[in-house]
Amino acid sequence: MAITHETSAGMGGIRTAGDLAARMQMSKGMKINEAKEYIAGKLGISVFDLSDSTIMNEIREERGIGELMARPGAPIGIEAKIRIEELLGIKINSVGRFKRMIGM
């Protein structure tokens, strides 16, 4: 049912800004509208555009915060999350652990 829920009601994960909104709910306990407004402010776009995959894919590529399609040189996994942490101004647990492991 995951794909049914996602297409009927979900933000769309890394197709759009779904993972970013989830991070604000998880790190700050924000309700959905507050989370969307916060991210839109950080990205300099409207709340309406957050769920638009055409706009968000361009932004994700420009910002290096991870994108859907494989592309040489595109940041993956932890590389994208380091930038997401900076963009959103939050602490991401796995990023902190990664930095500790490499002595940063």
Binding site: M1, A2, I3, T4, H5, E6, T7, S8, A9, G10, M11, G12, G13, I14, R15, G18, D19, A21, A22, R23, Q25, M26, S27, G29, M30, K31, I32, A35, V47, F48, S51, I65, G66, L68, I76, G77, I78, A80, K81, I84, K91, I92, N93, S94, R97, F98
Partner: protein
């Protein structure tokens, strides 16, 4: 008047007139309001719910801009275990991220209880550490409190499901109180280890499945974890719309747990330190989809109005008006999603 295609709570087709749908919505919201001592849906809500129920398209979706976040229970069990696709759990996570476009995912073990995870914690930590290197979406670790596992012969304490029918009320209560202490230790141990392995959050799934003692154990574990790791995200997904009083006298911070409905469950979860509340409203398989979704929206609207934290509504089979069926029809699933978000004002699913 023509008949409109709908469903029963078991997934089978129901052909109903508009008047019958309207009647079921009225009765569904009244049932929830009576049980939860909460307001019925407004006339405007009921009219909107009717529109959603009778929309002619097979599937429906939320209005543009009203999309929400989706979190999961039994996350990595769905593709490799339930669907039987031979796939490593970390590949399942990337499948959700890159193909199903899930907003979050949950790493989980097939023996989905904190007590069982304790003995394989090293292997679970390794899986989390690997997964976090390749994953962009937030990744929970999740399992169930499952207090029943602490009863004999699998566990150390008496079985209250046997003691209660034998009239041994005091012994049954004592056994549950003992089980709570064991469960807290296991939940804190596993959650701490998985957080230190890089988990973005911990999911306590089906909280209350063994009754009020199960809820109390989880709330106490959540409070300990939040003190230990203030930035840990914790989702508490409840098992049902009503906390069963298997003990009957347990309270958290002065609130008696037995009998709490979602709008009250969320308040104790908040008090303990939960970051996201998972609200469950049971599907009645004998009643129609309009009856079930009216009940769900009534409970959820009261819950989101009471909540200070995000509310993610459980929409798996048998809850959230989703038919009690292993292959829930998408016409019912998408209507449930739309109604829960647009009328219930949910922050996620």
């Amino acid at each position: 008047m023509g008949k409109i295609f709908s469903r029963y709570g078991d997934g089978y087709a129901a052909w109903l007139t508009e008047d019958e749908i309207r009647r079921d919505i009225e009765e569904g919201t009244r049932d929830a309001a009576d049980r939860g001592k909460i307001p019925e849906l407004t006339a405007e809500d009921k009219e909107r719910l009717l529109e959603i129920c009778i929309m002619p398209g097979k599937n429906v979706c939320v209005e543009r801009g009203k999309e929400v976040i989706v979190t999961f229970d039994a996350g990595t069990l769905k593709i490799p275990i339930r669907n039987g696709v031979p796939m490593d759990r970390t590949t399942a996570i990337l499948t959700h991220e890159k193909i199903l476009c899930s907003d979050t995912m949950e790493l989980a073990h097939v023996d989905y209880s904190y007590k069982q995870i304790k003995s394989i914690i090293s292997e679970e930590k390794i899986a989390m550490e690997h997964a976090q290197l390749n994953t962009i979406i937030p990744l929970f670790y999740g399992a169930m409190p499952n207090l029943g596992l602490y009863t004999k012969p699998d566990g150390p304490v008496g079985n209250w499901s046997e003691l209660l029918p034998a009239g041994k009320i005091a012994e049954a209560r004592e056994a549950q109180e003992e089980a709570i202490e064991h469960a807290i230790k296991d939940m804190v141990f596993v959650a701490s280890n998985m957080y230190e392995a890089g988990a973005d959050g911990i999911n306590f799934d089906t909280v209350g499945a063994s009754g009020d003692a199960d809820v109390l154990a989880t709330l106490k574990a959540v409070a300990i974890l939040k003190e230990k790791y203030p930035e840990m995200a914790i989702e508490t997904g409840f098992a049902g719309e009503f906390v069963l009083g298997m003990h009957g006298q347990l309270a958290y911070d002065g609130t008696r747990l037995a009998g709490l409905y979602p709008h009250q469950q969320v308040k104790v979860a908040e008090k303990a330190g939960a970051t996201i509340f998972g609200a469950a409203v049971n599907t009645n398989s004998s009643m129609s989809f309009p009856w079930n979704i009216a009940r769900v929206c009534t409970f959820i609207k009261a819950c989101t109005e009471a909540a200070s934290i995000p509310v993610h509504v459980d929409v798996g089979m048998g809850v959230g008006a989703i038919p009690l069926n292993n292959v829930p029809p998408t016409d019912a699933v998408t209507r449930a999603d739309k109604a829960i978000i647009e009328i219930g004002k949910a922050d996620g699913l």
